[in-house]
């Protein structure tokens, strides 16, 4: 007998208080249209909730776990059977990782370095499951990558330096 397999996470969204998506990570195959619809509806639903409300809600077939950090909402969709509290702490650990990497992370860091935010997330969560929960190990992996990058950096043109290309 085959059962539906458990996805820890279906997707993760980061969005601002104004409802702007800052980061989206999808762990299930969905079309672009579906993704846009889900993000739009879910962002509205969450922004309409008052502070102090429960961090969990049932939404369509999914369980939504979210938490607001300063101006940013972090929101994960998990399946019905999944553990809400541990998901909440996944969010927190990710925030800690961003914070440590950027040094007091703020929304702007994520806007301007979105690719880094993705790389950190991939080191921490892969395919929607926790890959490495040690903060040190995740940051070590990212820092090693940064090191590789500095070594490999090629000289840039003058135009590039002033940001004109």
């Amino acid at each position: 007998m085959y059962m539906q397999s458990i996805h820890l996470m279906q997707f993760m969204l980061l969005f601002s208080r104004q409802g702007k998506l800052r980061l989206q990570k999808w762990y299930v195959p969905l079309s672009d249209k579906e993704r846009k619809k889900i993000s739009r509806d879910l962002v509205q639903t969450i922004l309409a909730r008052k502070p102090k409300m429960c961090s969990f809600l049932e939404w369509r077939d999914l369980k939504i776990v979210y938490k607001r950090y300063a101006s940013l909402y972090f929101c994960c969709a998990v399946e019905d059977q999944d553990n809400e509290l541990i998901t909440l702490e996944i969010i927190h650990r990710y925030v800690e990782l961003l914070d440590k990497y950027f040094g007091s992370v703020c929304e702007l860091d994520i806007i301007f370095n979105f690719e880094k935010a993705y790389f950190i997330l991939d080191e921490f969560l892969l395919g929607g499951e926790a890959q490495e929960t040690s903060k040190k190990n995740v940051l070590k992996a990212i820092e090693q990558a940064d090191l590789l990058q500095e070594e490999a950096e090629a000289p840039r043109s003058v135009l590039e330096e002033i940001g004109l290309t």
């Binding site: 998506l21 429960c54 702490e89 950027f102 690719e115 880094k116 892969l126 040690s134 090629a154």
Partner: protein
């Protein structure tokens, strides 16, 4: 600009992002983006070769634009080029682009797979990780085909770096979820299980997700993981809060791993080995004890992590459902949380207690918290918490507290959020029915329900109250009196009018003795609502009126007057007009005897699963309410049988427990059952006589019992649509599936509403079928569900893994298409086809459709090439009479050579040239792959063009296959 810009900080990108942020309007933003897109396009197209850095920067800009919500239709090739760069950052951006913007363009996929292949074999751990991340992020079937066999090797190799193992484990998990047929653990199983013992906690954390998923699918092969998981858990639970270094999270040792271990154990029954079980119980007790200890930190992260483990442990305790002591302790712990100041904990405690309520060991313990839960329903400020409280009340309800709980839920309904009213109404209706000791209480409750939340009372609910009143003669008088009183309210809900019309039409006589509710008073009361009602309700009322004429001859003149007036007899609605005309005629020409027979009281309804329950199940998805149901069956079995009282409700309940395959689609089954038991055949012929006298008016269904019942059925039942939808499934092999014997893709079904397309692929004994459901209308289909079943013994011959993907919500918007994937495994040869049942609501009417899925035994053919010599040698070997099946039949289709060849190839066999000495004949060979065995098949088709006939001969190593193939193929040519 951000204070910190780590890494290379592509300045051009930062400037672009700043520009976008400075745009004052959407238009300005789009303008800026278009400018940038034009720039990038020209750079990519330019003659000058771009250096890696620029390519990376532009690809990154494209990615940013895409993430803003704009479409990107170029740059994929440049991103793919970056993959083969030997600079890490370029490669990394390339992979990120591919991961975010997957493109199914097959040419690109090949290139991407090549790059991944190179990185996987590079032995550079950072490159390997990037490649594995990309596979895990994209997770497409093509990638599974390319890498599913390679990754297990990487995962278990002794010299693989820990970080690569972690990525490999989760990468494999993702591939397994997309393409379980391609990920074969086989020889690796034991080494994968032993990753639970790995020294590196990160490796265990990643590997356990894979192991859990594999264990769910193949519990036997992985069952050694249980004892390993218990000892790992035990070590974590008993470790001091600092032992695990960086895996300790806010003083809680390895919370993620602990939760995953407890989750893995939920794939299995309690360990049989006493020592292992003892150790596990000890762990669970320690976890429960720790919940009572003072917190080691005031931080919410500490308590969240600790409680995450606690809730997972409670889930495991509930899953085992065999340790009364632990269950009661769990319940007490949750009881404390019910009053916790953290909203999150109150929410989770309510949710978790819901499942505890269904255990016979803890049901009573849960019930002691009733006051707290009722209080939560009244005072929680967050609707999602109140919803949980309502769920818990529903779950803890039994005969002892039903009245209290139903009363509380009813009073909550008056102020409940609109979003949850319909579900609340269903729950109240179910509880009222299930635990009704006296039926007057039941009737009161349902009428209250209609009064308080009439808009949310679905048809199923008011059908059900009528069904029960009809079946219980001890409540009929009370029901008539109560509904009569309820109708006195100046504004009453239309659903109340429906129930009133039906009940007074049947049982109005029971209260007619009281002058305050004399026949005329009753009639005037009903008729005072008539003009405010919709057409279906008016039609129902007209039927009630004709019933009145039978019950109370003294009302005949008044009612005939009403029927005769222009607004009835010339009503623009054809149904109303017909009823008025026919009822008027019937009342004027039929004798009282005839009237009495035709308009006899409704016969009892057959007992069956409550349609409300079916509706709630559908709403919540299968399984959501089944737990309390089963449990109720258990309890009722004890209490009710013992008490000697067994109302029809409990009979219906137990029927549902036995999962009677009642077609709940046709609501109460009123139509199917009632007329049979109701009208003796003479009544039928009598009716015809009445009408033959009355003239050419058709013997409309509106006058026999059936017509009355029609009020209670969805409109399409009469529109003929549903009959069209009901493809007969008992025909030996219906036409639509016959078309698919020699092909795999096409349209399976189509009518005015729905189109079902099909694409399928088969490999060895496995198959995958993509079903595309297209809504052809502009109206959404609601409650769209599909089920696939294997009739009879087919179950053991085919294994379908259903719903590999599921629609996000059970709604198909107008014009939209949803997709479903079925995985099929052929266990042994078979001749029946699986059935696909589709149900949905279209404009309120339930549509029910059954189709045969075109899965036939020939789909599992592997072609076999052989020489003439080999062919005839094997042909001779298969010479036992039962191994051969032969048919001579007339050609139904073109006998053109090319058409025939295409069909034979579509069949899945190899078409062998130069084998048969007669060049007109066709011979084919193939092997049917089933799980257990391979069946060799040889085929010979001899056309006779003049006679337009064929002779088809099959010889297979298994008799049943020869027969089945012969049967299938004879219809194809």
């Amino acid at each position: 600009m951000p204070a910190v810009s780590k890494g290379d900080g592509m300045r051009g990108l930062a400037v672009f992002i700043s520009d976008i942020r400075n745009c004052k309007s959407k238009e300005a933003e789009i303008k800026r983006i278009n400018k940038e897109l034009a720039n990038i396009r020209s750079k990519f197209k330019g003659d000058k070769a771009l250096d890696g850095y620029s390519k990376k920067k532009y690809v990154c800009k494209l990615l940013f634009i895409f993430l803003l919500g704009h479409d990107i239709d170029f740059g994929h090739m440049e991103a793919v080029n970056l993959l083969s760069s030997n600079k890490y950052t370029e490669k990394q951006i390339g992979y990120l682009f591919i991961s975010v913007l997957v493109n199914s363009n097959s040419e690109l996929i090949r290139l991407i797979n090549n790059a991944i292949k190179n990185d996987l074999s590079s032995r550079n751990p950072t490159f390997m990780c990037l490649a594995l991340h990309c596979i895990a992020n994209v997770g497409s079937r093509e990638m599974a085909e390319a890498f599913a066999s390679e990754i297990p090797r990487i995962l278990v190799a002794g010299d693989t770096m820990d970080s690569v193992k972690q990525s490999a484990a989760l990468c494999l998990l993702r591939l397994y979820k997309t393409s379980p047929d391609l990920v074969l653990m086989g020889e690796w199983t034991s080494r994968v299980v032993h990753l639970l013992n790995d020294q590196h906690m990160g490796v265990v954390t990643a590997a356990i997700s894979l192991i859990t998923c594999l264990s769910q699918k193949n519990p036997d092969e992985f069952k050694t993981c249980v004892s390993l998981a218990v000892s790992r858990l035990s070590r974590i639970v008993s470790s001091a809060s600092t032992d695990l270094q960086d895996y300790t999270y806010y003083f809680v040792p390895a919370p993620w791993l602990s939760c995953k271990l407890l989750r893995l154990l939920q794939c299995y029954p309690p360990p049989e080995d006493g020592a292992v079980k003892g150790r596990l119980v000890e762990c669970l007790e320690t976890i429960l004890n720790k919940a009572q200890e003072p917190p080691k930190s005031k931080k919410v992260q500490h308590s969240n992590a600790k409680n995450a483990i606690l809730f997972e442990a409670i889930s495991l305790i509930i899953h085992y459902d065999s340790e009364p002591n632990l269950l009661v302790r769990a319940c007490n712990q949750l009881g404390q949380f019910l009053q916790h100041r953290e909203t999150n904990l109150r929410y989770l405690a309510l949710e978790s207690m819901c499942t505890l309520a269904s255990s016979e060991f803890s049901h009573e313990a849960v019930k002691t918290h009733i006051e707290t839960v009722i209080n939560a329903l009244k005072t929680e400020r967050d609707v999602s918490v109140r919803q949980r409280a309502a769920d818990l009340l529903y779950a803890m309800c039994d005969r002892s507290n039903a009245k209290q709980i139903v009363a509380e839920m009813l009073s909550y309904l008056e102020t409940a959020d609109y979003s949850i009213r319909e579900e609340m109404v269903l729950k109240v209706a179910i509880l009222a029915e299930k635990y009704a000791v006296d039926y007057s209480w039941y009737v009161d409750t349902i009428l209250n329900l209609i009064r308080i939340a009439g808009d949310y009372v679905s048809e199923e609910v008011w059908y059900r109250v009528i069904q029960i009143v009809i079946n219980r003669d001890d409540v009929q008088g009370y029901a008539a009196k109560t509904v009569f009183e309820a109708l006195q309210a100046p504004a009453c809900h239309e659903n109340m009018v429906k129930v009133g019309g039906y009940i007074l039409g049947e049982f109005g006589n029971l209260i007619a003795g009281d002058p305050r509710s004399s026949p005329l008073v009753q009639f005037n009361l009903l008729h005072s609502k008539f003009h405010l009602c919709s057409v279906p309700t008016r039609a129902l009322l007209l039927s009630a009126y004709i019933k009145f004429i039978n019950l109370f001859p003294e009302t005949k003149a008044t009612i005939q007057e009403v029927l005769r007036c222009d607004s009835q007899i010339r009503n623009s609605d054809v149904e109303l007009q017909q009823r008025a005309v026919e009822y008027l005629k019937l009342s004027s020409i039929a004798s009282t005897d005839v009237l009495a027979t035709v308009l006899e009281e409704m016969p009892p309804f057959p007992e069956r699963e409550s349609s409300i329950l079916a509706k709630l199940k559908k709403k919540k998805g299968p399984g959501a309410v089944s737990v309390p149901d089963l449990e109720d069956g258990k309890r009722e079995g004890g209490e009710l049988n013992g008490g000697g009282e067994r109302g029809p409700d409990s009979a219906a309940m137990s029927a549902s427990n036995a999962s009677t395959p009642s077609p709940s689609a046709d609501l109460l089954g009123m139509r199917s059952a009632a007329p049979m038991s109701a009208a003796p055949t003479s009544a039928g012929s009598l009716l015809v006589d009445v009408f033959s006298e009355a003239g050419p008016a058709a013997p409309s269904a509106a006058v026999n019992d059936d017509g009355f019942l029609r009020d209670l059925e969805p409109p399409t039942e009469t529109s003929g649509l549903s009959s069209e939808l009901q493809t007969p499934v008992d025909s030996p092999f219906n036409a639509s599936s016959r078309r698919f014997v020699c092909k795999n893709n096409g349209v399976l079904f189509e009518n005015q509403l729905l189109q079902i397309g099909i694409k399928s692929e088969y490999r060895q004994n496995l198959g995958r079928m993509y079903l595309f459901y297209g809504n052809k209308t502009s109206v959404q289909f609601a409650s769209f569900t599909t089920t696939v079943s294997c009739p009879g013994e087919l179950q053991s011959h085919i294994l379908s893994i259903l719903r590999a993907t599921k629609p996000v919500e059970p709604v198909v918007e107008g014009g939209a298409q949803i997709q479903q994937v079925l995985n099929i495994e052929c266990l042994t040869d078979f001749s029946e086809a699986p059935l696909l049942n589709i149900k949905f609501r279209y404009g309120g009417a339930l549509q029910n459709l059954s189709l045969k899925l075109p899965v036939t035994i020939n789909k599992f053919f592997q072609p076999t090439e052989m020489t003439s010599h080999d062919f005839f040698q094997r042909w001779k070997q298969l010479s036992q009479p039962q191994q051969e099946a032969q048919k001579i039949f007339k050609a139904n289709h073109s006998m053109d050579t090319e058409v025939l060849k295409a069909k034979l190839l579509g069949l899945g066999t190899a078409l062998l040239d130069d084998v048969d000495p007669n060049p007109e004949n066709y011979v084919c060979a193939g092997v049917i792959q089933t799980k257990g065995q391979q069946v060799g098949c040889l085929l010979r088709l001899e056309p006779n063009g003049q006679a337009q006939m064929y002779r088809l001969t099959l010889r297979c190593s298994k008799d049943s296959v020869s027969l089945r193939l012969c049967e299938l193929l004879a219809q194809q040519f």
